[in-house]
C-alpha cells in the first residue's frame, strides 16, 4: 500500500468534481461539485503532509475548510437570492447576459 494511491484518488475526485461543474445544471449541485474539488485538494494536502513529514499541509487543509465554509455562506446566499427572483436554481436559466 502506497501513499501515492491517495493522490490518484484525489486527482480522480478532482476530475469528477470539475466535470460535474460542467455537466450539472442545478446550481446547488454545481456548487457541491466545487466543494468536491476543494475536498480533493485537501486530500492531496493531507497526503503530501504525510509524505513530507510536516503539518503544514494539514494546516492548509484546515484553512481551506474555513475558507470553503465562508464561500458556502456567500454562495448559497447568492443562489437563494437568484432562486427567489427566478424560481429556478438551474444555471442554464441564468443566461441573460450574453451579448
Amino acid at each position: 500500500m502506497d501513499a501515492a494511491n491517495y493522490l490518484y484518488l484525489s486527482a480522480l475526485l478532482f476530475t469528477i468534481g470539475a466535470v460535474g461543474v460542467v455537466v450539472r445544471r442545478n446550481a446547488i449541485v454545481v456548487f457541491m461539485c466545487i466543494e468536491l474539488m476543494l475536498n480533493a485538494a485537501n486530500l492531496s494536502f493531507v497526503t503530501f503532509s504525510r509524505i513530507n513529514g510536516d503539518l503544514n499541509g494539514q494546516v492548509v487543509a484546515f484553512f481551506t475548510m474555513v475558507v470553503a465554509a465562508c464561500e458556502v455562506v456567500v454562495g448559497l446566499a447568492i443562489i437563494v437570492t437568484i432562486y427567489r427572483s427566478r424560481r429556478s436554481a438551474s444555471v442554464d436559466d441564468a443566461s441573460l447576459l450574453r451579448r
Partner: protein
Amino acid sequence: MNEVALQVGQTAAPEALLFWILAPLTLIAALGMLLVKKAVHSAILMAFVMIALAIFYIAQGAPFLGIVQIVVYTGAVMMLFLFILMLVGVDSSDSLTETIRGLRPIAITAAVGFGGLMVSLLSRATLGRSAVGVEAANSDGNVEGIAQLLFSTYVWPFEVVSALLITAALGAMVLAHHHRIQERPTQRQLSIDRFRKDSLATAAGLPAPGVFARHNAVDVPALLPDGSPAPASINASLKARGDVLDSSRFELGTVDTSADEEK
C-alpha cells in the same frame, strides 16, 4: 505501482485494506453525484464522500482534520446545503439530457483526458527525497502540532481569515436580511379593511385568475363580463416579475358563430 516515485514506504496492511475498500466506494459515490437526477441524492452522496475523506485523513495521521471534516464539513456545511435544498424544493430534479450543443462531448473528453493524464503524470512524478511520514511531526499530538503552526507561523492568515468570516456573514445578511417595511397587518385589521375601506368592490374577494374555457393558469387574467381582462385577478408579484401572459390574447373578439349558422 511499479517504480512510482512517491514511495512512502509500505504502510500497515489495515490501512491498505481500508483504502481498497473505501476508495472505490468514494469514487462511485462521487460519480453518483454527477449521475443522479435529484439534487438531494447528490447531497447525500457528497456527505458520504466527505465522511470517507475524513476517514482517510484520520488514517493518514491527521485526526484533527478528520474530526473537523466530519463536524464542520459534513455536519455544518453539508447541512447548510441540504437546508437550502429544502428551501429550493427537495424534489427538484435535473434532466440529464444536455441542452447546450457540444458540451457533452467536451465534458466526456475532459473527464477522460483530464483524469487519465493526471494519473499518468502522477505516476511519473518523482520527489528525489524519501517520504518521511507524519509520525514525527505528530509526536506532540496532532492537535498540538497544528495549533503550534496556526498560532505562530500562520497567525497572520489566521487573523485574516476572521475578516473573511465577517465578510461572509455580512454578505449573507445583505442578501437575505429583510427590512420590516410596515407592521404586518393582523387578521383583524385585514378584515376591517376589507369592509370599512374606500369601497366594497372587493369585499367578496379579488377575482380568481384564469379563464376556464381558454386558459386557466395563474398567470392568465380573468375576463370581466365585457370580455376585457381583470388586472386585479393576477398576483402582484407575478406582475412585477413580468410573468403575466399578455391579456389581450384572451379578450373576447367577435365570437366565432360560423358553426351556428351552418346549422
